[in-house]
Amino acid sequence: MSALQLFPHRHLLGIEGLSPQDITILLDLADEAVEVSRQVEKKKATLRGRTQINLFFEASTRTQSSFELAGKRLGADVMNMAVAASSIKKGETLIDTAMTLNAMRPDLIVVRHHAAGAVQLLARKVDCSVINAGDGAHEHPTQALLDALTIRRNKGPLRGLVVAICGDILHSRVARSNLILLNAMGAEVRVVGPSTLLPSGIERMGAKVFTSMREGLRDADIVMMLRLQRERMNGSFVPSVKEYFHFYGLDAEKLRYAKPDALVMHPGPMNRGVEIASDIADGAQSLIREQVEMGVAVRMAVLEALAAHLPNK
């Protein structure tokens, strides 16, 4: 049996529920996809004849284009639907939208939605495979997979690595998916941020909790910064951009608390000067651009793995 058939899932709704073996299969497939993407001839025929719908209820640039490119490189017909601008405004419910799309007989639907659990709900109503491209503050599995791939290609196996996830943990689906994946793979996960941006009970989700960058970054191999939304830094969750950057923004001084060969990551889009200093984002220790490349590869791997279970007749 090929690796494709060993992947036992019909949907990818979250990292939760994936075994370390499932994750390894996807990362190995993604390594191969990186090679495909680096060739002149980037096209494969794996998904020829298949229809992929990207259903984005929330605006997205990189995730959506990355899924689009991944589908196209595998030979699928890809359709983008920015729902924010269409049916929702006319009052259609999530389930009605799903049923309508289902009637068009797609093979794969990639969904992003602002509400946690929305993708799961949709998956129960359609006949095709569903991929979660981010649901509220719940999960963003392909981001965690691309982060894992980037780390593995730079640092080797994840087991034993110290990964510090810093910033707005409370509102972050990226943090949750990463936390689950990194724990499953045996890394030591820390979350670092002001208490107002830490979800309650996070310590019972397998993370060591720190409120100071100095403590939290000590001996870290990977420093993963998260985006802080503008509307959360004017006194509601943190007092100001100035104070946030002073205590939690990653600059050269704070990066020195981590290991000398520590690498810096950010899921994007970045707020330069808020959670990360420009020189660090563009510096020698930054993996931020590589993460974007790995995004396409990981999404190709996921599409391939799920397509292996699609009915062939």
């Binding site: 208490s195 409120t211 100071s212 004017n234 006194g235 509601s236 007092p239 104070e243």
Partner: protein
């Protein structure tokens, strides 16, 4: 500096509220700290040039630390400046004063904290420590830059005369402050429920004045205790005024919450009956309550359930006070009379001197994390020399404050401060004292 020479005080009654001990002997200060003390102190160990002062049995105790004083600087210098407030403080034996942030501009920016610290260094004789606003503009909506304000030197966060009404804002502030081990100080009064000008009850009804129910205080205090439990923050109720609040504090302490509270000198020594014929200098926030409430807060102070006594020093000019009772501003000055007013409790047999001084120096020092508030070799020489029994009648003209709105106008008081030292420097000396 001229006042900076070593001093040996002899024949003193040394009262150390930190250890709870009273002894007789000498105490020597040099270079800003207490260098020696005890009964058999050898005067020859003293450095050259030491001044020797025989205090003739008077009390030497740590200088007082007042966690709540309003100063008009910047913006309302006609009411009070850091210089005038510090003069009043020094005359009353107060060596550290925490200033409230409701100035103009509001102390909600690290630059204003920095200004206040420099200004105090240049013009004030006692230690004036700025408190910063808890919310921007004290509007109760967005928390201020706690971390940067603390780094600039703000000692705690408070919205001064207003409570943070929005429970979500208070919850987030308590949570965020925890990361910086910052103390949040709340004026425990629900303004929407308060809505009156004096304590609610028969007296208010007879005077035809609108009342402030005790529940305006207890509801806010009770809510905050729940939020402290939720967030594990550090919380201080600026002033409680009634028996029910004491009960709430008692429960919270019993449950191990990191909470403390203060009481105004006015609530300890006066009650609503003192308002008599609409005496506007006694229009205060919290309002003067009933005698039962006064007795309850005194008992709580004796038990240590109330941590600190504050002057709630609040200079208001004549125009603000010469108004019908309901229309006039709240507040009374109190720095200079803090000690002698408080001595009423000692002379009345309600409290021991040690217990009183603990609430006026040791406990406030502990809450701020200061080394003051104790008579100890090596501790800062912030001291006062006072005669606990010496009587006087308070003439408003003798107040150093720029405003004379005292609640103790022409009152007979006991307890006179003869000398005050801040960091070993003499900042107040009664004319002819120990000459």
């Amino acid at each position: 500096m001229q006042n900076d020479h070593p001093i040996l005080f002899t024949h003193a009654t040394l009262v150390d509220p930190a250890s709870g001990t009273t002894s007789h002997g000498s105490i020597a200060v040099e270079k800003g700290v207490i260098v020696a003390m005890g009964a058999g102190l050898d005067p020859h160990v003293l450095p050259d040039g030491a001044e020797k002062i025989d205090v003739q049995g008077r009390v030497i105790a740590p200088g007082l630390i007042d966690l709540r004083a309003f100063v008009g600087e910047p913006g309302h210098e006609y009411r009070e400046t850091l210089a005038s407030a510090s003069k009043a403080a020094a005359a009353g034996g107060v060596t550290t004063v925490v200033t409230m942030p409701d100035t103009h501009p509001v102390v909600d920016d690290p630059a204003v904290v920095d200004f206040l610290i420099r200004r105090a260094r240049d013009t004030a004789s006692v230690r004036m420590l700025p408190a910063a606003a808890l919310t921007k503009g004290m509007l109760g909506q967005e928390m201020t830059e706690f971390g940067l304000l603390k780094e600039a030197g703000a000692v705690f966060m408070t919205d001064a005369r207003t409570a943070v009404a929005d429970p979500l804002v208070m919850r987030r502030a308590l949570t965020y402050a925890r990361d910086f081990d910052l103390l949040l100080v709340q004026h425990v009064e629900d303004q929407r429920l308060a809505g009156g000008v004096m304590n609610e009850g028969e007296l208010a009804s007879r005077l035809g004045l609108s009342g402030i129910a005790r529940e305006a205080e207890t509801l806010m205090l009770e809510r905050d205790m729940r939020l402290v439990r939720l967030t594990s923050g550090r919380y201080h109720a600026a002033m409680i005024s009634c028996a029910d609040s004491v009960e709430i504090m008692q429960r919270a302490r019993h449950d191990g919450l990191r909470v403390s509270c203060g009481v105004s000198i006015n609530s300890l020594t006066l009650n609503e009956n003192d308002i008599g014929p609409y005496r506007t200098f006694l229009k205060l926030s919290p309002p003067l309550r009933a005698e039962e409430d006064r007795q309850a807060v005194i008992a709580a102070l004796a038990e240590g359930l109330i941590d600190v006594i504050v002057s709630d020093h609040d200079p208001q000019d004549v125009e603000a006070k010469r108004q019908p009772f309901a229309d006039c501003a709240d507040g009374a000055v109190g720095l200079q009379t803090l000690l002698s007013a408080a001595m009423r409790l000692v002379h009345g047999g309600d409290l021991s001197l040690v217990t009183l001084l603990r609430a006026l120096s040791t406990r406030p020092a502990d809450l701020l994390g200061l080394p003051q508030g104790r008579l100890q070799v090596g501790a800062p020489a912030d001291l006062m020399v006072f005669d606990p029994d010496e009587p006087y009648v308070l003439e408003p003209d003798h107040l150093h404050s720029l405003c004379r709105n005292t609640a103790f106008d022409q009152a007979r008081l006991q307890g006179v401060v003869h000398m005050t030292l801040v960091g070993g420097r003499v900042v107040h000396r009664l004319q002819g004292a120990f000459a």
